[in-house]
Symmetry: D3
Subunit: 243 residues, 6 copies
């Protein structure tokens, strides 16, 4: 049994992993985790308004978005960026696509996984991604799926922060201090040239979550200092030896 630590981020569109969990990626990379990011699409149709307004073609949009994702992944220390290139708005995975994702999950054997919120009336690709994440996690656990391969254990599935959290019914139960890697997250965000207005937006998100980190680590008594944080919702219970 190897002691290698790994994580797998499932991102419906190319940039999602940057805004929503770029800090977690960079931090765990620094801690020695091999973090794999799987982007199902480049967000070419639905999340590239600026490029379309400039008159780019579909292939150009995809190439630009791919390049941005790759650049951001480099900055964050991503071990492997896997672009499934399945199209977006709507995102759809065929049975074969799902098997490809199961193969990836088994290859990575993630210590933990990450994906979108379970509900999102603004963006059905997001909730579809998480539904697929749960389905493929289950298949990867089955001893009878490609017998002989190493089956998946029971990794946590963290749901990263959606836009307009309250509308998505997303409730964070874990705040992660990303102060040590904030510069990397900001730099990765700045690779996303088509969504400049989000740089400040997600900087503010990180500052607000840092406030919440402090409140929950110490209240008015003065919690642990923290300047930037990310929030996550866990799907599965934790198993511990001490509370």
């Amino acid at each position: 049994m190897t002691t290698k630590k790994t994580a797998l981020v499932l991102s419906a569109h190319a940039a999602d992993f940057v805004w929503r969990c770029g800090g977690a990626i960079a931090l765990h990379a620094r801690l020695g985790y091999e973090v794999t990011v799987a982007c199902m699409s480049f967000g070419e149709r639905g999340e590239s308004a600026k490029l379309w307004k400039e008159g780019k073609s579909l292939e150009e949009v995809k190439a630009i978005r791919r390049a941005e994702a790759e650049a951001a992944a480099r900055v964050l220390g991503v071990h492997r960026l896997e672009c499934f290139d399945l199209g977006d708005y709507p995102l759809h995975l065929s049975q074969d696509d799902k098997m490809r994702l199961v193969d990836l999950i088994r290859a990575v054997q993630p210590t933990f996984m990450m994906s979108h919120s379970q509900y999102d009336p603004y963006n059905t690709d997001h909730m579809y991604m998480t539904q697929v994440a749960l389905e493929c996690r289950m298949i990867a656990q089955a001893w009878g799926h490609n017998p002989g391969e190493k089956v998946l254990g029971a990794p946590q599935l963290y749901l990263f922060e959606p836009h307009q959290t309250e509308q998505m019914g997303w409730k964070p139960d874990t705040f992660l201090d990303i102060t040590p890697v904030w510069d990397q997250k900001r730099a990765a965000m700045e690779e996303m040239n088509g969504q400049v207005h989000l740089w400040e937006y997600y900087t503010r998100v990180a500052e607000q979550r840092a406030n919440h980190f402090k409140r929950n680590s110490g209240g008015q008594a003065g919690g642990r200092d923290c300047r930037y944080a990310e929030g996550f919702q866990s799907i599965f219970p934790r198993t511990v030896d001490v509370l």
Copy 2:
């Protein structure tokens, strides 16, 4: 700043702490935590049916229940057992009683707290206890309450397992392996002579939760072995440096 680790369990009736979190108490005591248990009542009216059927008087019932609670606390390694003796069915805390509880919270400065589920249509004392726990936790955090005293930080409030979990809307997010201290929990339960039928009931609960512990620590791939466990629901988010 002291590094002493402490925990505080708020129990509406004398025996609740044994059935619901006896394992967590014994385990943390073994880990060096000073665990304080505060019983608001002896459960004398509502949870001592056997004694009443035997014709005992109120004072006799209370004395017997107190003795049982003390014996169980000893077995579990409880640091301090505080009996508020406020009566039950219904439990009610006056403003003075609440201030006494705030004083205790501040004296203990718990690393974490424990109490009942937030909803319980069978037993309104239970949900009232948790409502009071939240109120007193808030007061203990206030710099203007008894200025000069050390204010409370932001301890987690774990809700221990109620009877008929699904009817209470209780959902565990944390499973604790109590195998190392199981013998102590069983012994503590056996001090509760008035509720013999619950010995086996809560032994089965611990076995079922151990199954859940295993599932969530490793799935079909074979999780961490565990023979007895307890489940808890967290009220507040965690703050972490690694997921």
Copy 3:
């Protein structure tokens, strides 16, 4: 052990029992149940607008409302109408008032109980009534409360239909056919002279619920015929020997 069947309706205001479960009362009375109705108040301040506009005094309003409640109770075949006369808007029960209610519960030993929805932002008396119902049900079950008295079993608590059901989070799980006693319910409603506009309103409610009764008893295939029905939400699970 007696085989007498009994029911206990807890009504915050005098007229609630008529609109919300008059059919259930009349039907069970006809089936041989002794149905006791406990009205905590006459609804004198909050539900007697017409009388206040006519310039009646508080005592007059109460007397008129009492007379209406008594007349309705007679029409419905109520075994005992107990008016606690505690005032309304807001309704409040002191510890003594609660003990009086516990005494009544024990005296009746109800096969089932009825009260309001658990949430009502329009009328906090209603949700307070149900909170008290659960608390007093618990006390009545305690062997140590007035030892020697017969303790209460585990009667179902049905929540009858509130106004604006969706705003109250009320979801019926049981539809009762009240067609055989409809004339009695209508006649009882017509005793409520101060709320004439509600006669037609609650007649329509009964007709709509009859439609739901038919749908759920047979769907498009043609369910059991039913012209008037009432809906109820159960707090506790049922225990059965056949599904």
Copy 4:
């Protein structure tokens, strides 16, 4: 109109019907119901870890699981066991598969139906099964589907107990006493040789549910005796003539 009583259990994987509602099946069979069990798959890939570890082939696994299901069905008194053999992890029903299920529903004309919980993040086959159950129930009710056939009425859909109930959001509203048929359920479970560790697990479940049966049938006053029980959640409201 025949008075024959029938039930239909929809089970995603071959063994689900044994653990989750074997008692209900045996009890209703004894009461004269013709109980049909439809297994969509044998659970060959996802729920046969032991067989795969032994190096069995897919066909061997399926044959063994089928034999176990048949043996269990015989012990429980199942009237008809229908194996759809559609594969698992993931389970998927084509439009034709659904029509086959609709045909079965119409042929059985069940008095009540049973299936899985509506949410299950561990096992998406389970929640998919229930989604299909609702869809096919609806189609079977349509007068324009295969006109001339007898349409379905409005049978209750009971959701049987999932593993880790709280994580599934499953809340039982009905407890069924299965003491009279416990020996059959235990014997049926013992036909499941690949999941020996679940024999004791589900025996404990039945004992815990019996405790809940007693609490809800009589509380501290002493409810109906019951040694083994099963819990169910109802999707649709009941229609009754007495509460």
Copy 5:
């Protein structure tokens, strides 16, 4: 930028738009909105029991239902009735069907949209329709979908009133006074000859909602008079300049 006001109603079956939002349609038509109604099916299989009992063929049923829908649309002042004719029980939209719906959404550029409740265990077509509505709304907003076309803004999606609202988890947040157009709604309902029993049912619904309109517009103090109303649940937050 045109100032034309438009609305788009997505109806799973031909008659849904009449019962559930006929008043809103007629009212907004009168206010100058161009209201488009898109019926995915005629409800030919699942909601035409009377016609099937009369022995009509599928084509006859569809023709009759289409004629009824057209007549009702005329009475309500519908600007455009688009019948997708995709079949019902179950309703299914292929990728092409969805693109057709996206085209329609873009052509209409609705100020607001309407569809079914998000949950309906009785009728899975209904909840599927709303799921598709959200997906197609998202696609219509994408700059990369058919680049060059005018993209959709952010219209509200109102969920109209389902049958048995409480079972569907539907909670109205908006009541619309349809008194001025009631005669039109009633006349449109009377075009639905196959569902005569629903005429009175939905008349009563409108009367009950008018009562709720009055309560919420003025309480006991006497709200705005209103004789007929419809209720709607909003999916998205409103953006306003005054509360």
Copy 6:
């Protein structure tokens, strides 16, 4: 009947109205509303940590907090600031205090009301305030409460934004553009010298909500420009003549 427009804000602690709805207050004041703010306490014990650390006495803390609240109210254009001075941590209203609040509600006759979220495990004063708000709103509507006085209509109760929205189960359904009065809100916040760290925090909140305002007013197509916004959750349904 006067056409005067009025609003009433119920604030548990002195500063709450500034952070949470200062924009709404200033905007409506500018629109001609008379806005009354009722502070139940000065937040002297629980929300004045900085002052206590400086060694101020209770009276000094209260005086400073009162002065800050008055200064902020002036900046926002508050019509009337009513300080109930009831103490905090915990806040408690006696029956007399509630009657005083009812008198105020009746005197103001608010077009709309505002208060805290309905759940707040960090701060039980907040949820208690809203519970009291609903109770007192109900009493103010009663014709039999101080007969002869003008009864209250049915004003909306908006819940303003709590800290850590997701933990409070608060979901905004209304975003208000406060850009025109932003300078006033910022200036009012800067009167709160004891909570300097919150100036930037709530500035970021306003910027994030402006982003949400834009998304919901126009999506990717470009919504209404907005630089600062506040969010609110409505308790009651709206009654409208156009959607």
